[in-house]
Amino acid sequence: MAELLRLDEAVRELVHDGDSVALEGFTHLIPFAAGHEIARQRRRDLTLIRMTPDLIYDQLIGMACARKLIFSWGGNPGVGSLHRFRDAVEQGWPAPLELEEHSHAGMANRYAAGAANLPFAVLRGYVGTDLMERSETVAPVTCPFTGETLIAVPAIRPDVGIVHGQRADREGNVQLWGIIGVQKEIVLASARSLVTVEEVVDELEPRPGAIVLPTWCITAVAEAPHGAHPSYAHDYYDRDNGFYQRWDAISRDRDRFRAWMEENVG
């Protein structure tokens, strides 16, 4: 059974210094409120895992919460660079950032393997790329039935998985819809999980295309209205594309970035 907690309590209880943490949400339902709470609580030495680091990890990297990043695409979608991510990789500011880099297909399969309690996933991919040569987490494997050479990537089993959803009932069952990304995979792959929701309701009415994460596979649920902004929650509010565009200027300069975080996150 998931515990219904306040967001600050949930982060204090579930996320510890040095943990591997995946805050997921593929463009949609990115758990920004939870990310901000991690920054406010000054967590350190985290291994951050996410297919698209997006603004949420740009903020955590710039606030020196991360030691390592496992990812597949680190840009500001449709806008350009993630400047805090770049500064950490290019200049080591505010701290050096170790990278473990994959393709989207590789990351998605690593999550799925974690959810399925398998040690690795198999796919066709990476062949001929420097991602394969660079990485200790991409290796060839032989199919025992056909002899064909395929690619193996190890499962990802984060200490904590955090996602956002539209709503939960008072038992902690979570319902989410729209682009569902890897939300289910990350909750099932993680040792502990936190789901933030737009609202807690008495009853979850069925919706076409919605998935339900049952309360007994979630550690904690926290209400966080508008908790995916500037990402979005389908049928609640739209993606704040203007903020994604403004972030480019806010994040470009170290002092301006820190001042923005101080003022808006604390």
Binding site: P77, H102, S103, A105, G128, L131, G178, G181, E185, Q245
Partner: protein, 239 residues
């Protein structure tokens, strides 16, 4: 109507899509070109975005690959592991669209770093969906502006390499095709008013030219009108 080099590039890319093509679309120029095709000569083009939306029909250009309108107008929305495993790896994608920071004569693409990987001069976003799109789509269209910085003898990182399908590269100066026999890009078209010498001067290797080199048909008024309407929409939406 007069037009810019970027406009003729986008129009040339859109024309590569025939009707009912199933197209895996990245954000930026690829999304613009695919939507232009859908709104002009290829209305039943199926747009697939890596966020898991299949058959999206956006009225305005999305800023990201996961804007809400892509899900709302889709025929189906599937999880991200499924879009890569069943639909891309499963061989359902006719055309994959890619961009890159660097390309070499063999059609290898770099979207990861400029400089050394460990100590990069510029850290770029990375491969994202590109490694598997390049390898698994039946054909690949690369859209990239032509310059000595982008068309290099040696790319700094191989983010993706061509698979067994066809590859066409559309630039702001012309069009190149990957010649399978020699595994090398060949200039097949120049855009209106562009000379071969101009293309050579913006290419970092000794670029081969096809014997039947052709010239791109100028963008029609209709193509330009639809393109400009598409391009103006996102700014209006976020102003």
């Amino acid at each position: 109507m007069s037009f810019t080099p970027d406009e003729v590039m986008t129009v040339a890319a859109a024309r590569k899509l025939t009707d009912r093509t199933v197209c895996f679309v990245g954000i930026g120029l690829p999304s613009t070109a695919a939507n232009l095709a859908r709104l002009t000569h290829a209305p039943r083009t199926v747009l697939v975005y890596e966020s898991g939306t299949i058959g999206s029909k956006p009225a305005t250009l999305p800023l990201s690959i996961g804007d809400g309108e892509l899900a709302e107008t889709a025929d189906a929305v599937v999880p991200v592991p499924e879009i890569f495993n069943y639909w891309l790896q499963g061989g359902r994608i006719d055309v994959g669209f890619l961009g890159a920071a660097q390309i070499d004569r063999h059609g290898n693409l770099n979207s990861t770093v400029i400089g050394d990987y460990e100590r990069p001069k510029v850290r770029l976003p990375g491969g994202g969906g590109a490694p598997e799109i390049a390898a698994m789509a039946k054909a690949v269209i690369v859209i990239i502006r032509q310059s000595q910085r982008a068309f290099v003898e040696r790319i700094h990182f191989r983010s993706s390499v061509p698979g067994s399908g066809a590859m066409v590269v559309i630039t702001d100066l012309g069009e190149l095709r990957l010649d399978r026999d020699h595994r090398e890009l060949v200039l097949t078209r120049t855009h209106p008013g562009v000379s071969v010498e101009q293309v050579w001067s913006e290419t970092g290797w000794d670029l081969r030219v096809a014997g039947d080199l052709a010239e791109t048909e100028p963008p029609s008024d209709d193509e330009l009108r639809v393109l400009r309407r598409l391009k103006s929409a996102p700014e209006e939406a976020t102003a």
